[in-house]
């Protein structure tokens, strides 16, 4: 029962977090939202019985990619300039 519920909730949350990542104008918040999406995605992989992929997604998607994005954003402006 709980698993079925998770199968519904987690994809919705994944879509929501990715939408937030697209819609937010603050790049840093966007990157953190992407990290949340990766974490949820790895959870989804886990309940879909692919623990192998889940570990990789958690390590690379949630941690490394976020670190790289944060570092890249640090080198630019956080907000998109109106031109």
């Amino acid at each position: 029962m709980i698993i079925e519920l998770l199968h519904i909730i987690i994809p919705i949350l994944i879509v929501a977090t990715s939408l937030v990542a697209v819609l937010l104008r603050d790049l840093m918040a966007s990157a953190i939202s992407l990290a949340a999406m990766s974490l949820l995605l790895s959870l989804e992989f886990y309940i879909l019985q692919a623990p192998d992929v889940a570990i990789a997604e958690a390590g690379v998607g949630a941690c490394l990619t976020t670190a790289i994005l944060v570092l890249a954003i640090k080198a630019t402006a956080r907000m998109e300039e109106e031109s």
């Binding site: 192998d52 570990i55 990789a56 690379v60 941690c63 490394l64 670190a67 790289i68 570092l71 080198a75």
Partner: protein, 153 residues
């Protein structure tokens, strides 16, 4: 540079992350995960240190050139084991250790998760793990270094 709280927490959690990552690498042939996943976890721990303590602190401890040598060694280990399979087993990538009395010589059974099994697989996992740790950390380190240099100017 982060606050003292972040530094302390990072310092405390770093060994645990590393140990977990090494566990995933070492048990790659028995449990989910393997060289790549474990390597990514260890690299995550290193990046946690990088973020918490700042780039300059890390650069003092470890150079990018050392990392790229480590990366080469990892890749060489992987392909070297494959070549050893060619020499001892007759075909490329042959698992020549499995079924012998050497280290890792056992054959995994479904009941007992004995780490001393798997033949060349653990060796390849170690090699891949080394390469992934060095490679992923080098990417982030170079980026962080370039950005901190840019800000310094």
């Amino acid at each position: 540079m982060m606050s003292k709280i972040v530094k302390t927490i990072a310092g405390i959690s770093f060994p645990f992350i590393t140990i977990y990552g090494l566990y995933v690498i070492a048990h790659g042939h028995l449990t989910p995960g393997g060289g790549f996943q474990g390597g990514a976890i260890v690299a995550s721990g290193l990046i946690l240190l990088l973020v918490a303590y700042g780039t300059d602190w890390i650069i003092e401890k470890i150079k990018e050139s050392h990392l790229s040598i480590l990366e080469s060694l990892g890749a060489l280990g992987f392909i070297g084991v494959a070549f050893l399979g060619l020499i001892f087993g007759g075909m490329f990538f042959t698992n020549f250790i499995a079924g012998t009395s050497m280290l890792f010589g056992g054959i995994p059974t479904s009941t007992a998760a004995n780490i001393n099994t798997g033949g060349t697989l653990p060796l390849m996992n170690f090699a891949v793990g080394l390469k992934v740790i060095a490679g992923l950390f080098a990417i982030v380190l170079v980026m962080a270094y370039a950005i901190s240099k840019e800000e310094g100017e």
